[in-house]
Amino acid sequence: MVTIAFLFILVSSTLLSILLDMHLYDLSFFQTLHFSLTLDAGTRKTIVFTALITGLLASFILDYRMSKEESEKKEAR
């Protein structure tokens, strides 16, 4: 569930940002997508992309732990 929430929020908030940029600059969707997410050299965007990946990994781990806890509870019953 955490992973699903992570992916949903990531995709929808990126879409929101892109839609606002499209409106502001009068550009197409793909132009704005490219403009927003391309890792240009020297912009240090890789730092936040790395943080984002750690967030995704954390959500995998959290989901695994929660499903493990739930199955242990079921077994205990």
């Binding site: 929020i9 502001l24 730092i47 936040v48 750690t54 967030g55 959290l62």
Partner: protein, 372 residues
């Protein structure tokens, strides 16, 4: 077994949270600049007019006790429709958190840590917010109690120090209302009424957790008025020091004004202390919006909100960077589009839509309670 963490805040803490929330990024980027020398009047007018929507938010929360905005929506609209609306609100709360974080990041890299990447500032700050929220709302409240006197004291001290530095020129504020009330009202609607005052909609997620719910509404309105007056004072000081044009051109007018403080060739560079203090307002604002979004996720995905903290904090840090290429674009988006497209629907549209349903459902709940 994990110890249950407390989710209650006192009225004093609520007062401080509302005040710090309103100062938040408003004090950093400066508000009401479009009204030129009358921006302080615009802030007072917006503050007074904001009592109506804030009272409305309090009314909605008080009709169905001990329920936050999302739980009220679930009662009013049913599970399916409310889930869609809650997801939209989560996006709104996270998006605004990212915008506030960007304001702070730009302030820090522009004036304090000039060689540090803004990305590092965003990630570090979100880790800090995540840790506070992981410990619970009460920790945020207690943290605020410690920090609040420094925030309010510093904002008030700036004016006094500028006065002693002979940098405060009242002629910059004159003439008052040279073009009538028109420019003031144009600044109030929709800019000031949505940012920062309308953003108090996020407190519909916090009010049910106040220890004395009966007085929470009065406390919120009192905090709104006090903060409005302090914001107006701060704006007055900025105009009197810089003049209306320089204030409008300045990226961070409060800092530019504070930079003018010079007493006995000894007390100088006070702006660095101000940044440190302003950080608290930003922290509260991001935390409240982030907390609102997390509570929404808790309701939609049926998992404790603490499970979402780290992953969502990283999304906000990421969003704060990709929302705009530079500060000019960030501000331009914030002025021209965010109030109309983002703020008004979530601050006024959906709560107004909720109103008849809340009246209807709360009547039903009350009559059920009487039958029992």
């Amino acid at each position: 077994m994990q110890k249950e963490l407390v989710e209650k805040i006192s009225l004093t803490q609520l007062f401080i949270l509302v005040s710090a929330f309103l100062f938040g990024s408003a004090i950093v980027v400066g508000i009401g600049g479009e009204a030129e020398q009358d921006s302080w009047i615009a802030i007072i007018v917006a503050c007074l007019l904001s009592i109506i929507p804030v009272w409305f938010y309090i009314f909605l929360v008080s009709r169905i006790p001990e329920k936050n905005l999302f739980e009220i929506m679930e009662i009013a609209f049913g599970k399916m429709i409310s889930k869609v609306l809650i997801l939209l609100y989560i996006l709104y709360f996270f998006y605004i958190s990212a915008r506030v974080l960007r304001d702070f990041g730009e302030l820090i890299v522009g004036d304090m840590l000039v060689n540090t990447p803004i990305e590092v500032i965003s990630i570090t700050f979100m880790l800090f917010v995540a840790y506070i929220l992981y410990l619970g709302l009460e920790v945020l409240g207690r943290f605020s109690e410690i920090y609040a006197p420094y925030l309010m004291g510093s904002i008030l001290a700036v004016g006094i120090l500028l006065l002693f530095s002979r940098e405060l020129h009242v002629k910059n504020v004159l003439p008052i209302l040279p073009e009538g009330i028109g420019p003031v009202m144009n600044t109030v609607f929709p800019k000031l009424i949505t940012f920062p005052f309308g953003e108090l909609v996020a407190f519909m997620m916090i009010l049910p957790y106040a220890s004395k719910v009966r007085y929470a509404g009065k406390t919120t309105i009192l905090a709104l008025m006090v903060s409005g007056l302090i914001l107006a004072y701060s704006s007055f000081v900025q105009i009197a020091t810089l003049g209306p044009e320089a204030k409008l051109r300045s990226k961070f007018p409060l800092l530019t004004a504070t930079g003018e403080i010079s007493l006995w060739n000894f007390i100088e560079r006070v702006d660095l202390i101000i940044i440190f203090v302003v950080m608290f307002g930003i922290l509260v604002k991001i935390s409240i919006f982030f907390y609102g979004g997390l509570k929404g996720l808790e309701l939609v995905f049926n998992r404790p909100y603490r499970a979402f903290i780290y992953p969502m904090a990283m999304i906000i840090a990421f969003m704060s960077i990709i929302i705009s290429k530079n500060f000019a674009e960030h501000i331009s988006e914030g002025i021209s589009m965010v109030p109309w497209i983002i703020h008004i629907p979530f601050q006024y549209g959906i709560p107004l839509l909720l109103f008849p349903f809340v009246l209807w459902k709360s009547k039903g709940l009350r009559s059920e309670g009487k039958k029992r």
